[in-house]
Symmetry: C2
Subunit: 220 residues, 2 copies
Amino acid sequence: MTKVDVGKKVLSANEAYAQKNSQLLAQQGKPCFNLISSPGSGKTTILVRTITDLAGALRLGVIEGDIQTDIDAQRIRAAHAPAVQINTEGACHLSATQVHRGLTELPLDQLDIVLIENVGNLVCPSAFELGEDGKIVVLSVAEGDDKPAKYPAIFAKSKVLLVNKIDLLQGGLVDFDLEHVRSEARRLNPGIEIFPVSARTGAGMQNWYDWLVAQARRSG
Amino acid sequence: MTKVDVGKKVLSANEAYAQKNSQLLAQQGKPCFNLISSPGSGKTTILVRTITDLAGALRLGVIEGDIQTDIDAQRIRAAHAPAVQINTEGACHLSATQVHRGLTELPLDQLDIVLIENVGNLVCPSAFELGEDGKIVVLSVAEGDDKPAKYPAIFAKSKVLLVNKIDLLQGGLVDFDLEHVRSEARRLNPGIEIFPVSARTGAGMQNWYDWLVAQARRSG
């Protein structure tokens, strides 16, 4: 996001569509969450494992945001969930307008929850409301434990922090102090839920599933 | 970077300062490179190890770009190199204006090379010229081997690709096909130099040092 005078106007146009999305989701009673992280933190792998492990229990639909390619939507569809791929063609975040198109293309009446995977970017997507019920920030342990301090906005705004790739903590392969991240994230956002997980091994994923299922029950 | 009509005007104001920076660096005969990557790919760790290992052989100065905190500049100074910290206060990339301030604060006459560590963001910084001689993209193996395809702009524009954290490839801890990344990066950019390294263990770093030293010799 560049800091320019038109920022306010752009945000307002975006907010109008965000409101539309929020109303559409509320009418249909579908919770919707916006996953934000650096590139390569494992958002898609988390989604694929979640879809697979919750098959028969929770019906997930996904809006995939990427600058280019439909690699991620293909991975979601291979896990037997509906996915709409949005290519931003250079833009560094999803807009509410793009998500609106995604919502109209998903079979909402056959879903329990909609998950939006934003463009891999820990900065810009946090400034653009999409009409979601909450943001979920994903941080891979390989990225280091200084990220809440260095990129505070998204940690301050998220309902959930998924600390992913915790399998890499074994054997001291990466320098990452989970307790430091926990206290830094809570300093920015006392109410944030924190789930350490490995989408690769499945460790810790059940806590995340329980949270997701509770969100669907609250709306259902 | 939002896609808005003023984009062209913003880029032009930035380009004027980029040109100033480029002239200043050329007058002083100092090569300057702009390191760009996702958050947590290991840019600062690469810089710290490079400064330490090349102490006495190559004098490096660093301009550190971060949204908040001076954690990175402190790490550079602890390695006994001069560092100027720029806080972008929310902006997702360094501007040429900010880098101009950094260049005037660095003791240029006592340096052989200036390295700019941009804000951790694989998207936006690639669109803003800073007056540098070239961009260097850093990709950690933990981020996955699909990143050149998904974030092509920075791979297409960089002189060098540092594939970092190759120590994590041992034991199949991360799924990453180095040959796939090599061919994807070369498809986007046939002339790109590719150095697989581990800033943690030091593996492969000598190739990167040789390249850096050659850049200083060409300018000296």
